[in-house]
Symmetry: D2
Subunit: 366 residues, 4 copies
């Protein structure tokens, strides 16, 4: 049966997006002889005059090793609350009917929505309004439940680890405490894995609220053993363990994160203030989510794309592709977006890190 | 209980060996306050005058990002058939009793043997002779059953993929067929994963004997579509499908592999001879197994080392650490070494590659 | 004639320091059979109880590919104004006599001082007090006159270019203006070369005070041509061209740099405020000066070390090694430290960048 | 004055070719408002029906970090001896008149020929026949006189150095002699610079015919000092010093290079045969000339492209762009192609390598 399928990419950048697009296009054309349409700039491309282009084998040549997405993405694009300017004021408008209509006018039979939490929730609601959807999960932080791991994350861990390798030699030569703030708003995966791989001494993640006393103790103990430097890796979403029962935080600690604009800077300043030690902070930022994907992410993205096409061929809409162990299966989009994939504070990986001597700044009980 | 444990590394080089050593040393010392002894050059270090050194926290500083093994390794070292020279002739001698005696004189309670098939089989037999053993699997080819994946393999795939990225631009500019021979004597994992990640057009692996007619057809079809170059990745253990029922091989095909010294050169020459096309062959060789390990391999090696110490603490000898899904478990060494972890010719990953348009040169049925 | 020579490394980290140390040690020992002493932590190692170690061939094995300095460095270490704490207050004390005495007690004939502006000026004054000096220039910013280029700089340009490659794909996918702040307090070399290599659209350097109107115009023109993203590279020492004659700056512009703590953040905020465009800022920081040196820096560092030994052999003290074209010569330290190596605003390289369409934000004349 | 200029790329692949094309296109369009035509597949694109395409700003977007050449190249393309098949036999035909005619029909005013020795000689002769030429030098081996250095070479040195870093850890762990054969048919630059940067123990280059006795002595001396491994880097064009006066070569040495197909394999086999040591050989091959160019090569390629346009603007035909020190000048093509840029056997760089303890296998005089 000949079909036309559409694909769009939404949300933040993630290495492997082009692998997904290529996977969809190649398997749709080579295996099924379908037509593929690429919607530009996420759901935005279906608002107003539709922006789309034909995706042929030639369109996806050479894109596997490239970061970004050839289709563009959008941070605006929630069709259920779409910012419309009028006389200088911005109102949020529901343009979902327009999106559905535009999609139908394209003559497409199904839409592959590649995106995170937000994009997938929108996809689900749009499906109820008449767009047959297949979801492909995307999150640089690896915080999406419903799949063991997402593409892009492996690349990010690689970039951070390389940065930690670089910072190591400087920290050691200068007897400094180097604080590196990495991505991870809710989940500390990037900090955890790159911290282990990059020989960090301290890893601070959102799942384990930290006590700076424990952190400073660890740095102090290293110093006592002749190691005059330390490497601290902090998730951007890490925060101090406040509350009376565990440890009494000073007022400055509670305010600190906001005052300095980032938890990395806060931690660096506190360590520097409490100990007689020079600290430096590096915020890796967007460097973590761009550029050529690692082999793992190229393969995973490709497989996700192929699986999405397979789901459409089987008419299994509302499903999301998912890596489980070494196999790609599928799950309900609804199940995938209702909670987060967090680091277990007492799980395998954290315990391994602790066995290596890494501290997570757990508050010491009185 | 205070203990002394020993560790040795055997067989070919593999990125992540130092991570294992560091994991063993740090968790043995920090968690258990044990003493750790490093045996030099694999089992060789227990033949004759033992060669070993104390491994302290200082001994393993800074080794996580480094390739190779600080303990050295040996290709000779089978104590049950050890080459001894005498008057210019070499005899194979059983020196296992000496090895056991040397081990016992070191006062060690257990031995962590890090190695492949060969090393682990030796370990098993030495255990029967009185050395309590824990195994850590090591194979660059990822062909060891009993664990989902081994350290070093991920690094190798990364190196090959980067090489394929480089060869791609040259192949395209020159309209050439580039044949790259990669590691994989019995198992085609490296060729398979790096081939998918590196946008190969043809992947030839030992698990799927190939027909050069199919390969040439695929290259020809690309040419017909205006793609004047092709990338071929070949496992060193790949071989042409001989036998009358499937496809008739010419005599030169059967002899070819030996004549030119490598299957890569053979494939390149055959393609060049059969089609009007320039081919080039690259044999990546030992570059694939050295140098800084990928983050994945650093973490896996570390976890394997930690688990090995845990097994000793539990007195569970004869076991081998093993990655299954995202967790590190343990299996019987005996079970791990009795068969190989091969690519399934009709498994998930091969089918994904085929969905992308990659050919494995499967013989076409008449 | 048998001699003992000493070496120390001062100031900020720089890839290639270990290459210099290795070059000095290997050529001193292999060519001259001299003894080499490594002073720890810059001139600090000669204050109080001297901290030093013997440097043998074994000491420098394997250090060529490693960042940092095996000798450590110090940011404190000015012997002419050395911070001494007494009853909680810190006074600056001249400890140079102690440094000279300590040096002489080591029995060393000459000292190789590897460092920047500051370290070399100290070396010059200490030479007057009796320590025969040879200088090796070191500056990550490449702002030292007296040599065409210094080691470490090439590595830094490589790191920044790789980061720009990564940011490019994200900027393009998201239609964003990405502002990257890089090292370069007085000289814009890193921004200039990595900006050209990394396809930047705007490069802002200290040598060419910028006008944000020009910058915004350039971004606007790109947008008009359908390029919805731009890459801006800013030296940390870049600043807006103030003053009435050229262009009228608003008060916020003049205050801006301080308010936000960095020129990168300032530029990003201004662009975002003036245009309807999303901006992101990345401050690469210390990642630029650590880690494995590029081949160029390994070779240059090695050659500098060898040349330093040659200068000592010739008794040519007070000289600094220097790369001129493809040869290593020597110059007076005094000449090298009296002014900076700045980018010429109308030189070859800036003009090349402009020919490629890159803007430096030069104020437009009225 | 409005003009149309053409550009083509000839000969082997070289990272930075796209930078040249982009430099030509951007400066021709942005600075001069000229039209640019890209000839496909070198001079081949002017034989028969011309193959060319319009090069706009959009054509060169995103190509700076990419290896290869978007215009393609050809190994055939000598218009003065062009292979023409007729009834199964191939004759060499002079098609230069056709090339000139095709060029003129394109309405182009000048041609930028990017290529090596061969391409530039052809360009010179075609200029006499009526095509105004500007040359851009290209050689991965860096063996072209008339410019200090060519683009691509720096990238190649980086790739080889990284490979040597990887081989180092394996060689050390296994106590092996690792022989790496690298590019360099007439000139040993790649072996020399990557050998120094990659801590080689032996470097063999065409400019210094080697004596295997000296090589084996060096490996032996290392062994005596406890260094049981050695790294040997060999240019593909290196050869043993034959002749009675210097050192007596056995017959097998003289035949060896041919017998085994490469000097690397020959050297590895000889060392293995003469000493009791395991050797391995790696031939890096085409990996050295593909993939993303280093920052240096991107900048140099860009500047060469800009300069080529400038030369056309000045009507200075028959000239070749050239890097001298830090500036881009121009020289007569004729002067550039009449001899090679070779390593000086007693120059600065070789002497530096020797000061570090590297041997070139110079024959020892009796």
């Amino acid at each position: 049966m000949s079909r036309t399928i559409a694909i769009l990419t939404g949300g933040g950048d993630c290495p492997g997006l082009n692998a997904v697009i290529r996977g969809v296009v190649r398997s749709a054309i080579l295996d099924h002889n379908w037509r593929v349409i690429g919607i530009e700039d996420g759901f935005d491309g279906l608002v107003g005059e539709p922006r789309w282009r034909e995706l042929t084998l030639a369109s996806v040549r050479g894109i596997l090793p490239r970061g970004g997405t050839i289709l563009g993405t959008s941070n605006r694009g929630n069709p259920f609350a779409y910012p419309v300017e009028n006389n200088g004021t911005t109102r949020m408008v529901d343009v979902s009917a327009e999106v559905v209509e535009n999609f139908q006018r394209l003559g497409a039979d199904a839409l592959v929505a590649v995106g995170g939490d937000g994009t997938l929730k929108i996809a689900l609601t749009l499906q109820e309004k008449g767009i047959p959807m297949v979801g492909v999960p995307k999150t640089i932080d690896n915080d999406l439940r419903g799949t063991d791991v997402t593409f892009g994350y492996n690349t990010a861990v690689g970039i951070v680890t390389e940065a930690l390798d670089r910072l190591h030699t400087t920290a050691e030569s200068h007897h400094r405490v180097m604080v590196t703030e990495v991505m991870g708003r809710d989940a500390g995966w990037i900090a955890l894995e790159s911290g282990i791989a990059g020989s960090a001494d301290v890893i601070l993640i959102p799942e384990i609220p930290f006590d700076l006393n424990t952190v400073c103790d660890a740095i102090h103990q290293r110093k006592a053993l002749g190691r005059k430097f330390s490497i601290v890796v902090v998730s951007e979403g890490a925060f101090p363990a406040a509350g009376r029962k565990v440890v009494q935080l000073t007022a400055s600690e509670n305010r600190g994160v906001e005052r300095l604009g980032g938890v990395g800077a806060f931690v660096a300043e506190e360590i520097s203030g409490r100990m007689q030690v020079e600290t430096r902070v590096v915020v890796l930022g967007h460097v973590q989510r761009g550029g050529t994907p690692s082999p793992f992410d190229r393969i995973l993205g490709s497989r996700f794309g192929i699986k999405a096409v397979e789901l459409i061929a089987q008419g299994r809409y509302g499903r999301m592709v998912s890596l489980q162990g070494r196999h790609v299966y599928d799950v309900d989009i609804a199940d995938a977006v209702d909670s987060l994939n967090l680091v277990e504070p007492d799980g395998d990986l954290v315990r391994s890190a602790e066995a290596l001597g890494i501290t997570f700044g757990r508050p010491t009980l009185p």
